[in-house]
Symmetry: C2
Subunit: 167 residues, 2 copies
């Protein structure tokens, strides 16, 4: 396979993956493109490579920056802006998980707590509801904490030991 083809394949694949995870296709593609570029890329070039409009590029770059996984860069003598992606994968994973936690998991936990603390009068139906949502609350809380600590855990010696043992 030739470089250009490989690059294109990667960008397409990453884009498709993104849309399965609630991130829009273009956003994931831009991110993919920046990840494998060894130098900062201008909006013009992003538009050209992905064949998208200026507005689309602008909005999705903004979203990526809000996620904290793409940065703006300025080049001396150039008026236009350039963009780079976070390339350290531990850092990337950490930012993504922090952001998803904040946007999705925390609000869900809040609701889970609310609904799991209603007074479960008499019926079996209500008891089961409270029981199941309480379990869910604990579970999601635990999973959220784990994700939170995943990166540092991944780096630390005990983590490495445990990972080896799990293989």
């Amino acid at each position: 396979m030739e470089f250009k083809e490989a690059k294109n394949k990667f960008v397409q694949t990453w884009g498709a993956l993104g849309s399965q995870w609630g991130i829009n296709k273009t956003m994931a593609q831009i991110h993919a493109l920046l990840m494998v570029s060894n130098e900062a890329v201008s909006m013009e070039d992003i538009m050209e490579e992905l064949q998208i409009s200026r507005g689309n590029a602008s909005m999705n770059l903004r979203a990526l920056m809000d996620w904290g996984i793409v940065y703006k860069e300025y080049k001396a003598g150039e008026r236009k802006e350039f963009f780079t992606a976070e390339k350290d994968l531990d850092e990337l994973a950490s930012k993504i998980s922090r952001e998803r936690s904040k946007r999705e998991i925390k609000p869900a936990l809040k609701i889970l707590k609310e609904v799991s603390t209603i007074e479960a009068k008499d019926s079996e139906e209500e008891k089961h509801f409270v029981d199941q949502t309480s379990k869910l609350y604990d579970f999601v809380l635990k999973a959220d904490n784990m994700l939170d600590k995943m990166t540092e855990f991944n780096d630390n010696w005990l983590g490495k030991l445990v990972i080896k043992m799990m293989k």
Copy 2:
């Protein structure tokens, strides 16, 4: 808050969460409804509670069964089918992660391997591409394995110890 209200809130929240994770809203709502029901629910009742059409209910129930997280049940003397959700949360998480791995991560890994093994002739650009996609391959592979082992890890003594330490 009253039971009916709490139940509705839970179903709505779970549904919204689902759509952020690439699962459609109705599918997630049906799952939510079944999770908090202490007994098996008929299609008729699902349609009624969620205000959806027969076709919609049928298709989404099928999808949930394909994921292995909802089961059909038959009641003696009743001709119609009833449905229940997997209620054990470790089991649920394990099935979801197995399924997503199979459907999304494994295919992506295959592509990552392909594109990361092109011959990186001379240019810095190509070298960077191969380097970055290789790292990504390793990272995704590692993360995939971790998810795979999460449940058993969660249950085992060492895991519990580590989790305690991380808190």
